[in-house]
Subunit: 386 residues, 2 copies
Amino acid sequence: MNYFSSDFTLGILGGGQLGKMLLYETRKYDIRTIVLDPSADAPCRIACNNFEQGSLMDFDTVYNFGKKADVLTYEIELVNVKALEQLEKEGVKVFPSSKTLRTIQNKATQKLFYVDHEIPTAPFTRFAYTSEILPAMEHEALSFPFVWKSTQFGYDGMGVKVIRKAEDLNELPNVECIAEHMIPFKNELAVIVSRNVSGEVKTYPVVEMEFHPEANQVEYVICPARIDESVAQKAQEIALKVSNAIEHVGLLAVEMFQTEDDHILVNEVAPRPHNSGHYSIEASYTNQFEQHLRAILDLPLGKTNSKLAGIMVNLVGAEGHFGDVVYENIEDIMKMDGVTPHIYGKRETRPFRKMGHVTIIHEEVAEARKIAQKVKETINVISKNN
Amino acid sequence: MNYFSSDFTLGILGGGQLGKMLLYETRKYDIRTIVLDPSADAPCRIACNNFEQGSLMDFDTVYNFGKKADVLTYEIELVNVKALEQLEKEGVKVFPSSKTLRTIQNKATQKLFYVDHEIPTAPFTRFAYTSEILPAMEHEALSFPFVWKSTQFGYDGMGVKVIRKAEDLNELPNVECIAEHMIPFKNELAVIVSRNVSGEVKTYPVVEMEFHPEANQVEYVICPARIDESVAQKAQEIALKVSNAIEHVGLLAVEMFQTEDDHILVNEVAPRPHNSGHYSIEASYTNQFEQHLRAILDLPLGKTNSKLAGIMVNLVGAEGHFGDVVYENIEDIMKMDGVTPHIYGKRETRPFRKMGHVTIIHEEVAEARKIAQKVKETINVISKNN
C-alpha cells in the first residue's frame, strides 16, 4: 500500500499527549490521520486531519470510526476490544492486534501469559474479588507484605497498592485483582521493542527508572541504564522473549525489575509509545513515535541506538497547587545546555498531575544526570493564584 | 509575558512547509498559533489553532490578521511591509522587524547595505531596468560574463541568471536589477545566526552546499563544512558581522562564497528558518525552528552544536514527470541507518519541484556523505502515470 498518498488514512484511538507526539511524526511522512477521543479539548484535535469526539469504550463509536481507516492504532489500552475484532474481520488492519490487547488488558491474564511462556515474573495469586484475599491467606503461599493490583488497567500506579496488614485491604475496591509477592529490587528497568508487520524486530537500549528516595515516584528515566553490561544484555533478552511471545506489531514497552541478586523479572508491558521512551525524541536516531509508525505501516524500522545519553524528567504539578498553571523558572532551565521542555498544554495543574516532561541530553550520562537534578530543583509547576 | 498560557497568541504569515515545521515546535511549548496564507490547502492548515485564508501582500488582510497576535513572524519575505510597520506602531511585536525586512527585501538595498557596513560582497551595479544594462556597459566596470539578479525576491534561483553575451539579456524581464561580477568560488557556505529580543546571539556551525557537477543545483547541504578551520572561523565572523549590522531578531541565514583564494563574500541572507538548516532537526542540539521560536519569544537560545554530522538532500521532482506523486524506493532509503525522509505533502510533482528532503546523520561526515549519495541514487520522485 502507498502510505504516502492521499488515499491512505491512519486512525488513532485516543487523542491525548501520546497521540499528539505520534501525530507529529505522521506529518513528517505526510500521512492522512483521523483521531477519536471522548474530550472535545483533546490535544490531538489540532494535529490531525479529522477529529471525532466519542467514547473509546462504545462498540458502535469505535467500529464506525475504524471503518474510515486503513490502519488503526491506539495510544491507550482502554478501548473496546470487540469493535477491534470486528474491524479486523472486515479487513481493517489493527495494530497492535485485538489479540495482543486481550493478552495485556487484564493484568491477571497478562501474568498468566508470562507463566505459560516461561517468562520470569514475581509469583502471584489471582482473586475474583479483593474480599477473597484474607480468607485465602491461610491456605495460600501469601503473606504480608504483598502488592495488590487491580486486574483492570490503570495509569501511573493507580490500581496498585502495597498491603502491609489486613486493614490496608479495607480501603480497596472489591474487584478482580492479583496479590503479588513483594520482591526487593535494585533497579526498575525498561526496554522498548519494536516489531513491524513483516516481523522485523529492533530493541532500544535498556533504560533505568530512578525513584525519588522518599516519594514512591519515578524521578528520572535514564538512558543508558547505569548497570552492568551482563544485566543489560539479560534485560534485553527477556524483553525480546516477551515480544516474541506476544507477537505484537508496533512498540512494546517492557517494564522489569532487577532483583538484589541480579535476576530480571517482568513487571508489566504496554503495547505503544511509553513514558520510558520519551528521551528518544532528542537522544535516539529514531524516536519511539516514528518507530511505532514505521512498525504499524510495515516500513523498515529505524536505528534504535542513541546519539547521546538522554534523561527524562517528568513535570508534575507541585503539592498544594490547583488551577491555572504557571511553569515557574522555565526560562532558567532553557538556559541549560541540551535541555528541552515539552509542555502538554493542560490548562490546570493539580498536585502530581503530569503536565509535561523535560529531556536532558549530553555526551556523558553522569553529566546529564547532574543537569537533570538542576532542572528538577529549578522548575516548579504551580498555579497562578497560590 | 507568559508564552505558556492560553492568553498568548503567535501569528505566522505564510502557511508553507517552513511554517509547518515551525508549528511543530510551537506544540512542544504549547503556544497558541494563528496562520495566514493565500492557499486553502496550505500545509500549516492542520497544525495551527486558527487558519485564515488571505493575501500576504494586501495591507488590510495582513493588518487585521496581525492585530490578533501578540507576536507576529513570517516564513516568507513576500509580505506587506507597510502593514508590519503599522502593527509595530500599534504595539504588536513583529520579528524579524519591518526594518530588517526592508533592508533585505530588495536585493539592491541589501547589497548597498553590505557596502555601507564594510561587509565583503561581490562588486555590482544597480539598474532601474534590465534594458539599461547594455547601454551602460560601455562606461561601467562591467563585462561578460556577469550575474543578473532581479532586485525583487525570488526563491530557488528564480530571478538569477548568468549573462554570457548580449542576447542572454533578451529573455529577461525589464525590471529593477543588479549586475554582479562573477567571482570564481571554491565553495558555497552558509551560517545561521540566531538572536533573541534581548540580544543574546548564537551561531550554528558552517555548512557547505555541494553542487551537482553538471546541473547547477545544490545537491547536498553538509554540516560541518569540509573546509579548513581558519576558513570556517572567517565565515562565522563575517556572518556575525552581518547579523550585528542588521540587528535582526530571529534567525538569519547568511549565504557566502569561499573564493579561490579563501576570501569570504556574502551572497545573500534570509531572516528565517532556511533550507540550509534543515539538517538541524536530526543533527543539532536545538533545531533551527525551535531556535527561531526561542529567539522571537525572547527565551534563552538553545545550544547550536551538532550531536552528529548531518547531511540534507533535497527531494525534487524527476525530469519528465508531472502529476500525482510517487516516492519510488522510499522504503529502501528508510532501511539505511540514520536516514529520515521529510515529505512535504504536495500532491503533484513537476520536474525540479521541491517535494521534500532527506536527512542523513552519522558520527563521521565522510560516511554520512556516502550514505547521502546512496539515498540520492535510490529514491525517485516520479508521477503515477509516467
